[in-house]
């Protein structure tokens, strides 16, 4: 896959998804269930705003010092015995990965779920070279068997398909003779993949967070596939986006604490694996060789733009679960690897306005995503700013440079500047005449985030309609 996942024009894509009532029902149920579980898990934790403010401050600090921490992480991982490779783009990253597999004469690789490997089309490159690549996350495995159908959500990839569909696919492709009970399907897949785990030459994983102080990479999974991929094969390759860093274990505590609650409404996932270097000489299992590939692939463009704070994202999927537009069109409607509010904020900078200006319209600016993001990514402001740029800039080809020169573009979500700006705006009743917002707000007023949650408003409206 790559950043673009759909092949239809946007309007046709949207029409197709809107007509898919099975999918819409599945996504709506999924959103409702996961949202209520998340609300409950944070309520139990308490101090919701304090956790978000702290997690957001940590992510923002990392971005501000990213050169320092990348340097430190690489040195520490190297000292622990890992090989660290810096890749500026998808071609370098996949090329190096393939080189490792070919050096090892590998014919089979097992993978645990990773967004960055999707972004750089790693599976396609390896498969073209004749290497068998097996996705081991249950949802991703089922989609792979289903003629490489695409994920519709970044955490629960097969949310758009039902049990009977998967029973039929497994019967057709893998000789499954059982019923459509999820437990029985899961047991069948367990047996199939167990063999692959034990015979694969290479394990490929992503990385949820990398600890700069110790050179540790971490993996968060429920199914145990992340542990398997880092236990059985003799070679392990980790691919990580360059912004995945935390300074120390003290910050990892905060990030782990908010990630599982946000993603699946659980306090923690079943497994959180912390890997520091390859296995020791006297260890008996684990990889003999550990390669860590750190990927830029457009992230530095985001870092230098006014949209830097979008890189805070920890890929929990919360904004998608809360989004009323996502509810009706699913991840497929956007036609981009990163869908939902995050996708709208990130993709136009990562991959350019030329190809991704239309998608920014898939948003009602209800602002709900901002209120639930566990690291306080300024999603609402970013999407709004994209729309402004697209509307006001005639020539979009060199917009990247203009990000740097524009006033508003520099302050989206940055703690110190943003506080200053809102304070300035606060003290002057109309448009501020001084301060960073001056130029921009001469023309228009700052949008206000609605006070009522969309969910609450909608629930109240439904209730009212029901009473009539």
């Amino acid at each position: 896959m790559s950043i673009r996942t759909g092949d239809l024009p946007l309007k046709a894509q949207l029409a197709k998804e809107l007509a898919n009532s099975n999918m819409r029902e599945a996504i709506a149920n999924g959103q409702d269930l996961l949202n209520s579980k998340r609300d409950a898990s944070f309520e139990e934790l308490g101090d919701y705003e304090q956790w978000r403010e702290t997690a957001g401050a940590i992510r923002s600090h990392v971005l501000e010092n990213l050169d320092y921490y990348l340097n430190q992480f690489a040195n520490q991982a190297d000292a622990a015995g890992a090989h660290v490779y810096f890749a500026k783009d998808d071609v370098q990253a996949t090329g190096y990965c393939l080189e490792i597999l070919q050096t090892k004469n590998a014919v089979k690789a097992v993978k645990s779920k990773s967004m960055v490997t999707e972004e750089i089309s790693l599976n396609e490159v390896l498969e073209e070279a004749g290497i068998e690549v097996i996705e081991t996350d249950l949802g991703e495995y089922l989609l792979q068997v289903d003629d490489h159908d695409k994920p519709s959500h970044i955490v629960v990839p097969a949310l758009h398909k039902n049990r009977e569909h998967f029973r039929r696919i497994l019967a057709e492709k893998k000789g499954y003779t059982g019923d459509n009970v999820p437990e029985n399907i899961t047991r069948f897949v367990r047996q199939l993949i167990r063999e692959d785990f034990m015979t694969a030459d290479v394990g490929i994983t992503g990385c949820n967070f990398a600890v700069a102080e110790t050179g540790t990479v971490t993996l968060v999974t429920n199914e145990g596939n992340g542990r398997f991929v880092t236990t059985a094969p003799k070679t392990q390759i980790v691919l990580m986006g360059m912004e995945r860093i935390v300074p120390t274990f003290a910050e990892l505590d905060i990030m782990f604490s908010v990630l599982a609650r946000s993603a699946i409404g659980a306090k923690l996932t079943s497994y959180m694996s912390l890997i520091t270097g390859p296995k020791g000489e006297t260890d008996r299992d684990g990889p003999e060789d550990l390669h860590i590939i750190i990927v830029d692939n457009g992230r530095s463009k985001v870092l230098e733009s006014g949209f830097r704070e979008v890189l805070r994202c920890i890929r929990c999927g919360t904004c998608m679960l809360e989004c009323p537009a996502y509810r009706h069109i699913s991840g497929h409607g956007y036609g981009t690897l990163y869908p939902g509010p995050l996708g709208l904020a990130l993709v136009p900078v990562l991959a350019g306005y030329e190809d991704y200006k239309e998608i920014t319209k898939i948003c009602s600016l209800c602002g709900r995503c901002n209120e639930v993001c566990p690291v306080k990514v300024p999603l609402y402001e970013s999407i709004f700013e994209h729309r402004r740029i697209i509307a006001e800039e005639g020539n979009l080809t060199n917009v990247g440079e203009k990000f740097l020169m524009g006033g508003y573009g520099n302050v989206i979500g940055h703690p110190s500047l943003y506080n200053l700006t809102t304070k300035t705006a606060h003290f002057s009743s109309a448009a501020p005449v001084v301060g960073p917002l001056k130029q921009w707000s001469l023309d228009r007023e700052l949008p206000e985030i609605p006070k009522t949650r969309f969910r609450d408003w909608y629930a109240a409206r439904e209730k009212k309609a029901g009473e009539k």
Partner: protein, 225 residues
């Protein structure tokens, strides 16, 4: 070995409007310290009770016994499962315990650094039960912290269908925060450290929870006093 760092990091520096990597990061100001409040100053009895309650909520079976009764408790728990056993090479489990378990279970192996990778992993793959000892238990989440290396290989708590983890009562702490403090104090980190919070599980088909995917189907804690 590191490849391509200088150029890559220089590009990142330039994106941050500077010409070289600073000698120190800016100060990290954490606005709140709410993570330290959880069960702060609670009596140890409460930590253990909370740990047990939260483990149960995750579908984990919990037993508790004095350390001298560990062998008897293990025999009882393993007897219900019936099948080959693999043990971590830990003072709590080896010696007399391993010997008695060997007689009872018939097929019982201790993770053996004198044997090859293949031999150890095949034993774990064949085993119905894997037994290891936790560094810590965490009350808030019913989690255990395991150092999965050397005498306690990664495979022990991963390959067998049933996983038994021994938790020393005095090692139970409030939450993840205290575990991270332990890791920060650990001079040489093991190559593999795992937090375990329940048996392997998924909800990938229609969000229906299924217990037991690639890792253990059942998880059992034995707390020893």
């Amino acid at each position: 070995m590191i490849t391509g760092k200088e150029q890559f990091v220089a590009r990142v520096s330039s994106c941050l409007n500077r010409t070289k990597v600073p000698e120190h990061p800016t100060e990290l100001v954490r606005p709140h310290q709410m993570q330290k409040n959880y069960l702060a100053g609670a009596p140890h009895r409460e930590l253990i009770e909370t740990f047990i309650a939260n483990s149960h909520a995750l579908g984990i079976d919990v037993h508790r016994c004095p350390v001298n009764d560990l062998t008897a408790t293990l025999i009882q728990v393993i007897g219900e499962i019936d099948g080959p056993v693999i043990l971590a090479n830990d003072p709590l489990l080896t010696g007399k315990t391993a010997e008695i378990l060997g007689r009872e279970a018939g097929d019982c192996h201790v993770w053996d650094l004198g044997e090859s990778r293949e031999t150890n992993m095949n034993r774990a793959e064949r085993a119905k039960v894997g037994i290891a000892v936790a560094e810590l238990g965490l009350a808030e989440t019913g989690s255990t912290l395991l150092f999965s290396h050397l005498d306690s290989g990664r495979s022990i708590t991963l390959l067998p269908e049933n996983s038994i983890i021994i938790v020393r009562a005095e090692s139970i702490k409030p939450r993840l925060t205290q575990a991270m403090e332990l890791l920060q104090r650990t001079e040489i980190l093991p190559s593999s450290v795992n937090f375990i919070s329940g048996p392997s599980a998924t909800a990938d088909i229609e969000l229906v929870r299924v217990q037991g995917v690639h890792g253990p189907l059942e998880l059992i804690y034995i707390i020893v006093d």
